[in-house]
Subunit: 221 residues, 2 copies
DNA sequence: TAGATTGTTAATCGATTAACAATC
DNA sequence: TAGATTGTTAATCGATTAACAATC
């Protein structure tokens, strides 16, 4: 399995979400690159190229077999393997993620949550046991967990990330508003909503005070 | 104010977050592009170019004035204007966003939440009143709200988005796992966590079953 | 002044799009 | 067969990085 670039991975996910809708499970179960492109606002050549990189071959004059495409994407994104994860920090966001039922269809299972609040420890959230922080490292080691979902506050995020790495974690899905540092073999995916906010805020500010056109005509020197 | 590209906006946000840390508020309050680049793992030329596009001039042999940089970014991202928003759907994620106290520092204020659950309507979440869905459109119109944060379930997301657009909303920050369609003058920013998941899942699958090297040496024909 | 840092132009890199022969 | 769709090569586009004279 070749290593794929981030942009390719994200497009593969979009194809997958689109094609796994029930409507495509029915015959004739084939679809052309042009149809996918139209629906997702992507260039059809791009679709064929992406499919090519994961070894998919289309059928001339017909298109692609929907099931085959889905299977290839599942394989390349690893959805066909059970993936266990721990969640660190059971605040509102952590609770939201624990309650989200959609992860299982991607092979992802949150098997334990950890929190420093002794009132929460011993309890359950969305069927997942909440354990004390000191149990984190041994738990991860014992079960060979490789993925951690970090939903702890900013102040403790880096320290927790370090502990996760020392416990053997290989990927951190970071929802804390903090840029984490980790060794090169550990993948960190940051989900800062502040990046989205920058795009939104700029768009709205644009509308309020548009460019006063310093380079347009109508203002002779 | 010129319209800026998404990648530039996201970098501006990263600069801003880095520079607004308290440590940079103290004298000498200047910083070089190389220092910023080092901290954020960005090319120094990129930093200077980004600053140039928002009209910032550095001082030879010294660098940039931290306060001036922050002010310019605040202006360009619109953080200096009060921005009111409504939130639609008070599930776990909606509650997490309502409880997040960091938005105010970007000028963003969630002034009302809407939900279809009559048990929630009339109550308060994190100091924000929860109102019935039917009150949404008149509320938005009356107060001239331009931003909606959509944290409703997948099934109703597009329908709600349509209603928001008809009420006059100009930007939708979409946390529902749905690709929304909206008129071109309405900005939609999708925060699908599934995109992040694709990157994480692929990384972990890579480690489990690395490329069996069909093109590498050691396998003579 | 000498030297560090900027602003800007040119070169590189990678990703997207266009073109089109090959294919079913 | 005729025609639609693929796979792939070439062209374009945009973003990143390198180089360096101008500046304080």
């Amino acid at each position: 399995m070749a290593k794929l670039r981030r942009v390719v991975l994200e497009r593969l996910m979009r194809y997958y979400r689109f094609l796994s809708e029930s409507s495509f499970k029915k015959p004739p179960q084939t679809i052309t690159s042009a149809q996918i492109a139209e629906a997702l606002d992507i260039d059809p050549t791009q679709v064929r190229k992406d499919f090519g990189t994961i070894g998919l071959l289309g059928i001339g004059r017909v298109g692609f077999d929907v099931c085959e495409v889905c299977r290839a994407i599942r394989f390349n994104l690893g959805f066909d393997q059970r993936q266990e994860a721990v969640l660190i920090g059971t605040g509102h966001l952590g609770t939201a993620l624990l309650a989200y039922s959609g992860f299982a269809s991607y092979g992802l299972h949150i098997v334990a949550a950890f929190d420093s609040d002794s009132d929460k420890v011993g309890g359950e959230i969305a069927g997942c046991a909440v354990k004390p922080m000191r149990a984190m490292k041994p738990y991860i080691k014992r079960r060979g967990i490789r993925l951690a979902i970090l939903t702890a506050p900013h102040e403790v995020a880096q320290k927790l990330a370090d502990r996760l790495v020392s416990a053997g974690i290989k990927a951190i899905w970071n929802f804390a508003p903090t840029r984490l540092t980790a060794p090169p073999d550990v993948l960190v995916r940051d989900e800062h909503i502040s990046l989205g906010l920058s795009v939104i805020a700029h768009h709205l500010a644009q509308a309020t005070r548009p460019d006063r056109g310093q380079d347009t005509e109508g203002r002779a020197p």
